[in-house]
Each structure stands twice: as structure tokens, then as C-alpha cells.
């Protein structure tokens, strides 16, 4: 097989970056358990998924996590840090 293109939606960007994902998006400030947003926020969920899928057609740097901001989420949660 030749491989399958993937994109990761992560709310733990530092942790995910350790695995050097081919494409990844971090919805800034979303808490763990809310990768696409909050329950019922369907338009926000659609926007996050559209933005994730759009990374397949953009020039991204493999291994890098792209940060996107969604003010409509309405909260900011500090993501987990990698212990050094």
C-alpha cells in the first residue's frame, strides 16, 4: 500500500507534536473531550472539520501542528504540557 493521507484534530498540541503527525490542527483553547467544540455547536463543529480537511490541500509542514482560533467556543483551556 502507498499509505493513507491523515489529518489529526488535537487539543493537546504539545503532546501530539511529539509523534510528529503528518498534518494536525489545534483548535486553540478547546478542552480535552471537546475536539470539535461543545455539544450541539454544529456550525462550530463543521468549521473545525472543514479547516482540518482543508489542510489536505494546503502546503503544510509535516510534523507541525497548525493552530486555529474559534472565538465562538467562548472558553480557553490551557492544554496539557509535555513534562521535561
Amino acid at each position: 500500500m502507498k499509505g493513507i493521507p491523515t489529518v489529526l484534530i488535537t487539543v493537546s498540541p504539545e503532546v501530539s507534536a511529539q509523534m510528529r503527525p503528518p498534518r494536525a490542527i489545534y483548535p486553540k483553547g478547546f478542552k480535552i473531550g471537546n475536539s470539535l467544540g461543545k455539544p450541539g455547536m454544529r456550525e462550530l463543529q463543521r468549521e473545525v472539520l472543514r479547516n482540518a480537511l482543508t489542510l489536505f490541500t494546503e502546503d503544510t509542514r509535516p510534523g507541525q501542528v497548525v493552530t486555529r482560533e474559534y472565538p465562538e467556543y467562548g472558553e480557553y483551556h490551557e492544554p496539557p504540557r509535555v513534562k521535561k
Partner: protein, 141 residues
């Protein structure tokens, strides 16, 4: 198939999203209610995975995972497993459609080598064989 440890396993996509079929693979512990739950009693974690069909009914899904708060996913599975969201994007023509198979596993294990060398390969092969996925969206909890 082997997964390189040294370089990023980047597979290019040269098609169009509007012609692509998409599969979901989540580490959020999502599975069908009538499938065997993940084993949260084992401190080493559960290396298994569950396959969900294209026409899966979200009301028949549940989460078994004790390393994140899945209260919100219990209310709306789309916050970790955006199956209805994917259907919306199909309807609006953003993507062509959903793959025949989607996968859930419990993204917690102390058996990292086995997860990396066995489970990850099995999931990739599952998607590769018969799912008709052009692209995969990965989500955590």
C-alpha cells in the same frame, strides 16, 4: 506496511476534497453500544479497536474511556467523533462522502510498543481494506 520512526510518514493528497471519501479514526474510546466495551479495568489499557459502519446511528454509540471527561461526548458524540458533521459536509458538497468503515479505540495504554507496532497497523489495514477511504481524520478525546 511499516511505520517509520525516523521521518514523518507523510502521504500526499493530490485530489479534490469534493471528490474524496473520508473515514474517522478516534482514540476517544467510541464504540457501538452492542460492541464489547473497552477494558478499563486493565491498568495497562486495551489494545483493541472497534469498527463502525458508514450508516452508523449516533444514538447507538457510546464512550468507554476513563482517562478523559467524556460527559460532553455522552451528550453529543460529534465532539470527539464527528460523524454527523461529516454527513453535513457531504450534504454541502465539501466532501464526496463517508467511508464504509470508521474506527474507535481507547487512546490510553501502557503498552506503547504493541499499540504502535500492532494495533496501529491493524487499524491502518482495516481502513485500507474495504473502507474506500481517500482520507482519514484522526481525533483524540
Amino acid at each position: 506496511m511499516s511505520i517509520s520512526r525516523k521521518c514523518v510518514p507523510f502521504t500526499p493528497f493530490e485530489g479534490e476534497l469534493s471528490k474524496a471519501t473520508v473515514a474517522l479514526v478516534t482514540a476517544g474510546g467510541v464504540h457501538l453500544k452492542d460492541q464489547e466495551p473497552f477494558n478499563i479495568a486493565d491498568e495497562l489499557g486495551d489494545l483493541g479497536y472497534r469498527v463502525m459502519p458508514e450508516d452508523v446511528d449516533p444514538s447507538q454509540l457510546m464512550v468507554t474511556h476513563h482517562h478523559y471527561d467524556h460527559t460532553d461526548a455522552d451528550k453529543d458524540i460529534n465532539v470527539v467523533f464527528p460523524i454527523d458533521v461529516l454527513r453535513d459536509l457531504q450534504e454541502e458538497g465539501f466532501i464526496r462522502g463517508l467511508a464504509r468503515k470508521h474506527v474507535g479505540y481507547m487512546g490510553y495504554t501502557m503498552q506503547l510498543k504493541a499499540m504502535y507496532e500492532d494495533t496501529a497497523h491493524e487499524i491502518a489495514n482495516e481502513i485500507d481494506k474495504g473502507s474506500r477511504a481517500d482520507l482519514v481524520v484522526l481525533t483524540g478525546g
